[in-house]
Amino acid sequence: MSSRERILGRVRRALADVPPDGAPYEEAVPRDYLREHGERTPAEAVELLAENLADYRAVVHRTGAADLPHLVARLLAARGSREVLVPPGLPAGWLSAAGPVRVDDRAESTVERLDRVDSVVTGCAVAIAETGTLVLDGSPDQGRRRISLVPDHHICVVRVPEQVVSSVPQALDRLDPARPSTWISGPSATSDIELDRVEGVHGPRTLEVILLG
């Protein structure tokens, strides 16, 4: 007997005492929790997102489409970045004023190469106001998961209000489970040493979020 059959057999025997349950999945779980906590206008949701991002020590900026390239350029310059990593589908205009050398992410780019790049600029799939979370799903303006991980400085552009939802349930509704996703809430952190929160262990130690709208 294979272990698969053995385990499934054990499960069935273990449940022999349980009365048959005809209730389908849809009826088995009460879903009377909230879809979102409180009602917000789109503008209020953006406010809350900004607040919660800052609370988890992401640096929040706001700008309109016309000024975006200049803001990106300023942030990269302030950081002293010489190279910036670019996902394949990043809108061309976003980096049009930026000084650093553009490094395109290619399948054959080694991790050692990525490790030498100072900054990365990406878009996002959705942002969650209640938790201050950005979700990246590998769409062309976000690129492979590793590019927002290895460089030490991540600039993420959120189109507001259209990419902002209030809650975790609403975010899941918008995502496609087939795509790999990364949920980011503030810069990487650890509390492993006497529970002191230290920003930045392995992921980018600086997370800057641009609310574009």
């Binding site: 053995r6 385990i7 054990r10 499960v11 899941l172 790999p180 996703s181 990487s188 529970l195």
Partner: protein, 492 residues
């Protein structure tokens, strides 16, 4: 479970040693009290906590009740997405499968993200025996590994080490494992974290094989979810060419939308955050993004035996948030190591004896490692009635009775002369003679007890079978202990 912790003294003796270790007690007290207060604030932020808790419990119960169906579904989904599914009946088989998969890649080292399942099966030791080095990459796990130590807390495994000890471990041990600690390393947390970043980055960049667990597996879509803070999880899940995830069969949930419950309750219960810094979700393999090969090893190792127990099966709902550890007066004083298992605290006291059986002295004494104050039940985000299971397991130890071990029905013999009970009660003395904090907590729990129904209403009734929930004592255990001096003077 593997023999990683064999030879551990039984809980009472180990606990007594820990209580006498003042550094350990100081660290634990600071840590548990800090997280406890933060958690209460994080939970208070969501007005529908009770509804989320109930939904989480029902999702898990529904899944466990149809576990065979959901596991088969999961296997189909993962396979369709390009992954390969393996089934492991016990620790030995899981270790064998993982070792073989690593060897097939031709590699002799792997990077690991913290996973309780791989600790449970003793994977690192099994790999080591086959000449494969496993590098732990969580900061706390790194501290534990470099310190040749054992984890003592589910979420903060190095909770028993303070910063000066950590600096000393880094200074003396890092060099032997790779990049040494920087010159003049001090004991500020930021510098220690930086030392770990540099030490581990070298390993991430060259790793070809990553090993992980998972917090959730979605049957409908084949998606796995890893919840973390530091980014080492993301490194292990995305940079290597081969990813091997070892996951207990109870981690499956039916559908994508079920994540909306647990991604709200888990971070708030565990690290007391609205959301943890990083959560990774992946479904099989994805072209150029991430590992080219993905293997999922589904682990039984005593879980189906636990499922066979009408009362004890609720322990399989656990999402390993560790909230129950942080509120437990016994854990706070005894520390994680006293539990002699990778699962410490209240959840360990009910899970380890079920996964491993109660044949050893440590496992027979674990159900006594509690004052039944009920604080663990109050905070549990999937409403596991830990005191109920503890009482049930005590009966099992003292009276014996039918049980399932490795899939076979057995009849357990009673522990001789209630030796375990007597030993445990003696040892309990240390925990209940002084602290005032304990009293307040227990009285509160005891007062809320009258709100707890004796049988579960609605569909829960069928699930708990015909068994009544145990009647909770009107007087908290601690008060009884004080009044009667541990039962010596029961008439007082």
């Amino acid at each position: 479970m593997s023999g990683t912790y064999l030879g551990m003294p039984a809980f009472p003796r180990a606990a007594r040693d820990a209580v006498n270790d003042r550094t350990l007690r100081g660290n634990l007290r600071h840590a548990t009290h800090t997280i406890r207060a933060k958690r209460a604030r994080a939970v208070a932020e969501v007005s529908d906590w009770a509804a989320l808790r109930e939904a989480g419990k029902r999702i898990k119960d529904h899944t466990l009740r149809h576990l065979d169906r959901y596991l088969v579904r999961l296997e189909e989904s993962v396979t369709a997405a390009g992954g390969t599914v393996h089934w492991a009946a016990d620790a030995e088989e899981a270790n064998r499968i993982v070792t073989r998969l690593v060897k097939e890649t031709g590699e002799s080292e792997v990077v690991k993200v913290k996973s309780m399942a791989t600790q449970e099966i003793g994977l690192n030791e099994a790999l080591e025996a086959e000449g494969i080095r496993a590098y732990e990459t969580d900061l706390a796990e790194l501290i534990v590994q470099l310190g040749k130590d054992r984890p003592s807390h589910i979420l903060v495994p190095a909770i028993h080490r303070n910063r000066a000890e950590i600096r000393d471990i880094f200074r003396t041990e890092m060099g032997a494992w790779g990049r040494p600690a920087p010159e003049g390393l001090t004991d500020t947390p930021a510098e220690l974290a930086e030392a770990a970043r540099l030490h581990l980055r070298e390993k991430f960049l060259r790793a070809k094989v990553g090993i992980s667990g998972a917090n959730f597996m979605v049957a409908e879509t084949g998606t796995l979810v890893v919840v973390e803070s530091e980014g080492n999880g993301r490194m292990c899940l995305t940079l290597p060419e081969t990813l091997i995830s070892v996951v207990g069969i109870e981690k499956v949930v039916p559908a994508w939308r079920d994540l909306e419950v647990f991604l709200q309750t888990l971070p708030r219960s565990s690290t007391a955050e609205r959301m943890n810094p990083y959560t990774s979700m992946w479904t099989g393999t994805t072209g150029e993004d991430g590992p080219r090969a993905f293997h999922l090893v589904l682990l039984d190792n005593g879980r189906t035996d636990t499922l066979a127990d009408r009362v004890g099966r609720q322990a399989l709902r656990c999402i390993r948030c560790s909230a129950c550890l942080n509120v437990c007066p016994v854990y706070e004083r005894a520390g994680g190591h006293a539990y002699g298992s990778v699962y410490p605290g209240p959840i360990g006291a009910i899970l380890s004896p079920q996964l491993r059986g109660t044949a050893s002295a440590i496992d027979a004494s674990l159900p006594y490692a509690s004052s039944l104050c009920g604080a663990c039940y109050e905070v549990c985000p999937v409403a596991i009635d830990i005191p109920e299971v503890l009482v049930h397991l005590r009966e099992r130890v003292v009276q014996g009775g039918p049980a399932v071990r490795e899939g076979n029905r057995v009849v357990l013999r009673p522990a001789k002369g209630h030796a375990a009970e007597r030993a445990a009660m003696r040892a309990a003395g240390w925990a209940f003679t002084h602290p005032r904090a304990l009293r307040a907590g227990q009285r509160l729990a005891s007062r809320t007890r009258r709100l707890h129904p004796r049988t579960l209403p609605g569909p829960g009734r069928a699930w708990t079978g015909t068994r009544d929930l145990p009647v909770l004592p009107p007087e908290p255990f601690r008060d009884w202990w004080e009044r009667t001096r541990g039962g010596k003077d029961e008439t007082r």
